[in-house]
């Protein structure tokens, strides 16, 4: 009975939410290049894993594309100079998350041509898988879908496992963001090339590109660019947040559930973001490093005629971007990433990093999409969060526990670890309870306690 139900539901995941998407402002605008800022702030840790080690000194001249910090082991990626200039400082600089992080500050030469000098072209088809993985690491590629997990690590299938399917995540389910959409429309060849490389590296038999059905034009563009011998299919999925979360996407496309605490590779699947693979398709043959990415720059309730998708050098401070957009310095909220999961900034001197997909400027009473106030009420047990949580958790119960600091219980009894902080629960909560924030706190505390116990 239940199994039958599950079958019927294939092609979609249950729960989730339908926020206002607000993509109109930027989805029709072609990707443009943003000017180089006078100063770049390049953190050595823009990915998950071990920080890269700086290999330049203060006062040293660096050329665009040159490695300025090298990978520290396998679970790490190098950092390349996003522009030609001079290293002004290597020290603790502000980050989006708050703590000061080690960063390389580069004063950009105004007059420089900004040609990418480094890069040693190769024929990927001629390399072995191990060599390819090494080359991927050398590009400094880390997932552009948000988590910034080193791509070469993901593409290296552990010996005990085998990958049969590569899923390409073109959902872009976050409101406001359209960078992946534009990349699919404008660079289908790069993307398909990247998919082919990834198929080769992982040894998967086929690739499926999952795209939300509000981006049918992107799907059409990709289909048109397919070669007959490609083992690649393009499929439309329901437009619903968080369709782009890999677990949801796999459920929608393949009807499988990634087991609790597991990874897609446990099911023989590798998931990559379209932006990541488009970069891979370009960087792998040319041997260049990841020095810029496409970022959606837009806002709500602000006058921003230049809103659109821009190719932004890594390390560009947000302040510079806003100046370029002609936005006045005073505004209420600036968010890096999408509105559902992005971080609001305490300081505008925070740089764009490899994982940044958007810069959103919110003005006025923009916290809410509608008529609400921000006042927090006690949980009225409406169950909306339970009905919204795509992971089928019980956010209400966890919220009550968090209110009493019973973090341990949240983990042992209510699967706190399975929460991927999508924000659906907070989004629907009529009591405006900051559920996700509670869960982040709980996870952090539990992690610390475990570390201390270890």
């Amino acid at each position: 009975m239940l199994a039958l139900f599950d079958k019927l539901r294939k092609g979609r995941f249950s729960h989730g939410i339908h926020p206002h998407y607000h993509k109109e402002a930027t989805q029709g605008k072609a990707i443009k290049r943003l000017a180089f800022p006078p100063r770049l702030i390049v953190p050595v840790m823009q990915h998950i894993g071990r920080p890269a080690k700086p290999i330049v000194k203060v006062g040293e001249e660096v050329v665009r594309g040159q490695v300025i910090a090298e990978a520290d082991g396998f679970l790490s990626v190098p950092v390349h100079a996003p522009a030609t200039g001079i290293v002004r400082d290597i020290g603790l600089m502000a980050s989006a998350a708050g703590p000061r992080v080690l960063s390389i500050v580069i004063d950009v030469y105004k007059a420089a041509s900004q040609q990418v000098l480094y890069g040693e072209p190769v024929e990927p088809e001629t390399l072995t898988r191990a060599e390819l993985i090494q080359r991927v690491q050398a590009t400094g590629l880390a997932g552009l879908g948000g988590a910034a997990f080193p791509s070469h690590v993901k593409l290296k299938i552990p010996a005990s496992k085998a990958a049969h399917t590569l899923v390409v995540n073109g959902c872009e389910c976050e409101p406001y963001l359209t960078c992946d959409h534009r990349v699919m429309l404008e660079q289908p060849q790069d993307l398909l090339q990247g998919i082919r490389y990834a198929l080769r590296i992982t040894g998967a038999e086929r690739a499926i590109v999952g795209i939300e059905d509000n981006k049918a034009d992107a799907a059409a563009a990709l289909k048109a660019a397919l070669r007959p011998d490609d083992r690649i299919t393009v499929e439309l999925v329901e437009t619903k947040y968080p369709q782009g979360a890999e677990k949801m996407l796999l459920k929608s496309l393949l009807g499988v559930e990634v087991p609790e605490g597991g990874l897609p590779i446990d099911l023989g699947i590798v998931v990559n973001n379209v932006g990541t693979l488009a970069q891979l398709g370009r960087l792998l043959p040319s041997g260049e490093g990841l020095i810029e990415r496409v970022v959606t720059i837009t806002g709500y309730n602000v006058d921003m005629p230049k809103a659109g998708n821009y190719r932004v050098p890594i390390g560009t401070p947000v302040r510079f971007i806003l100046e370029q957009m002609g936005v006045e310095a005073d505004h209420e909220k600036v968010i890096l990433g999408g509105p559902m999961m992005g971080a609001s900034l305490a300081s505008l001197d925070v740089p764009i990093t490899k994982g940044t997909s958007g810069v959103l400027v919110f003005q006025g009473r923009t916290f809410m999409d509608g008529e609400n106030t921000a006042a927090v009420y006690p949980c009225i047990k409406c169950g909306r969060c339970v009905d919204a949580c795509p992971m089928h958790l019980n956010p209400a119960q966890m919220g009550w526990l968090a209110g009493k600091r019973q973090y341990g219980l949240m983990e042992t009894e209510f699967h706190l670890k399975s929460c991927f902080e999508c924000g659906c629960c907070s989004f629907v909560c009529p009591s405006n309870i900051p559920l996700v924030q509670y869960f982040r706190i709980a996870k952090a505390v539990n992690r610390e306690l475990q570390e201390r116990a270890a």
């Binding site: 559930e257 609790e260 509105p339 916290f367 047990k381 409406c382 339970v386």
Partner: protein
């Protein structure tokens, strides 16, 4: 001052446009037609009753808020709902002082002691009613006729009873004003104690004895549908209750038609419609998950019929809902959602 500064806030930065006061305010809107119809039916006595219970609820809420040093919580409208619903569950000629006491008891022991909105485990309006039902069993089973002629100018004699005193006998007065055939018993009591059936038409139009707000099932249904349409109420709760009632009474009716009325009568008589639509559906006292809601609804529906058929009382919805509220934490504990990608349970819960 122009010193605007960056505001930090945790994700998500957008929200669904429905917060607690909005929902509650809409429930008030949904209740207004029912109140209006009750006033049309029973006259100014009911109007006075609604006002008194609502004021009592609001006053008690504010008093306890003040005692606990909490900010004013009247703006969330929830106490207004409590007051209105409470009045709708009381007999039209219920003495005002008893109504006030019900409001005070409902908010005080039903809500304030638990910490106010959201923390109450029982439905405050029903706590108030259960309290006065146990305190004044005679007054709460004294019904007055609907549509009596002087209803817009004249109070039911018992309405204006002085505080703490026994309400006057209304039997004589009822004889004077009643359209003939009024027996002073609700359709359920008639069926149970006298084995007299009431015509469905009367049930729909509300020309029967009963609580102020329970008599027109259709209107209640429509007002509930408004909330459902606006996604402010969980439609599954009334639905499961109706299913529970129909199934239980259907089975019992087939076994012994003399003892248990037919499902249709069960569904449209008494306070079931009001209770299922507006009181059982109060999310604070109902389970979180769809499976929990199913159990809760079936439990309430089933209990209502069982109490109506086998108990000493003719109506069981109020107690059924209170028992459902009481069982909610247990139901919740046993109907946790199944985790996405859950591994088969190794250890037992």
């Amino acid at each position: 001052m122009a010193n605007k500064h960056v505001v930090l806030h945790t994700a998500p930065h957008v929200k669904k446009p429905q917060d607690v006061p909005t929902i509650m305010r809409n429930v008030v809107y949904a209740l207004l037609p029912i109140v209006a119809y009750a006033v049309y039916q029973f006259g100014i006595s009911v109007l006075a009753l609604v006002i008194v219970t609502t004021l009592a609820c609001l006053g008690t809420e504010r008093f306890f808020g003040w005692m606990g040093g909490k900010p004013n919580s009247l703006g969330d409208w929830s106490s207004t709902i409590t007051g209105m619903l409470l009045a709708l569950t009381l007999p039209p000629g219920f003495p005002l002082w008893m109504g006030a006491l019900a409001g005070i008891a409902g908010i005080a022991i039903g809500k304030a002691v638990f910490g106010g909105i959201g923390f109450n485990v029982f439905n405050p309006a029903l706590v108030g009613r259960a309290f006065v039902q146990a305190a004044f069993p005679v007054a709460i089973t004294t019904w007055t006729p609907a549509f009596f002629s002087g209803r817009f100018t004249e109070f039911v004699p018992s309405t204006l009873t002085l505080p703490f005193l026994i309400p006057p006998e209304t039997a004589e007065w009822v004889k004077q004003v009643a359209v003939d055939g009024f027996t002073g018993a609700t359709p359920l009591a008639l069926h149970k104690f006298q084995h007299v059936a009431t015509s469905p038409l009367d049930l729909f139009s509300g020309a029967v004895a009963g609580s102020a707000g329970e008599t027109s099932a259709i209107l209640i249904l429509l007002c509930g549908l408004y909330l459902i349409a606006r996604n402010m109420m969980n439609w599954k709760i009334p639905a499961w209750i109706f299913i529970g009632v129909v199934v239980t009474s259907g089975v019992l009716h087939l076994i012994n038609p003399a003892k248990c009325a037919d499902p249709l009568f069960m569904l449209f008589s008494g306070g079931l419609m009001l209770g299922a639509m507006f009181m059982a559906s109060d999310m604070v006292g109902s389970p979180l998950t769809p499976r929990g809601v199913m159990i809760y609804g079936l439990l309430i529906g089933g209990l209502t019929v069982v109490i109506r058929v086998y108990g000493s009382l003719s109506e069981g919805i109020m107690y059924a809902i209170l028992l459902g509220n009481a069982a909610t934490p247990l139901i919740d504990a046993f109907t946790q959602p199944r985790l996405f990608g859950a591994l088969p349970r190794k250890k037992s819960a």
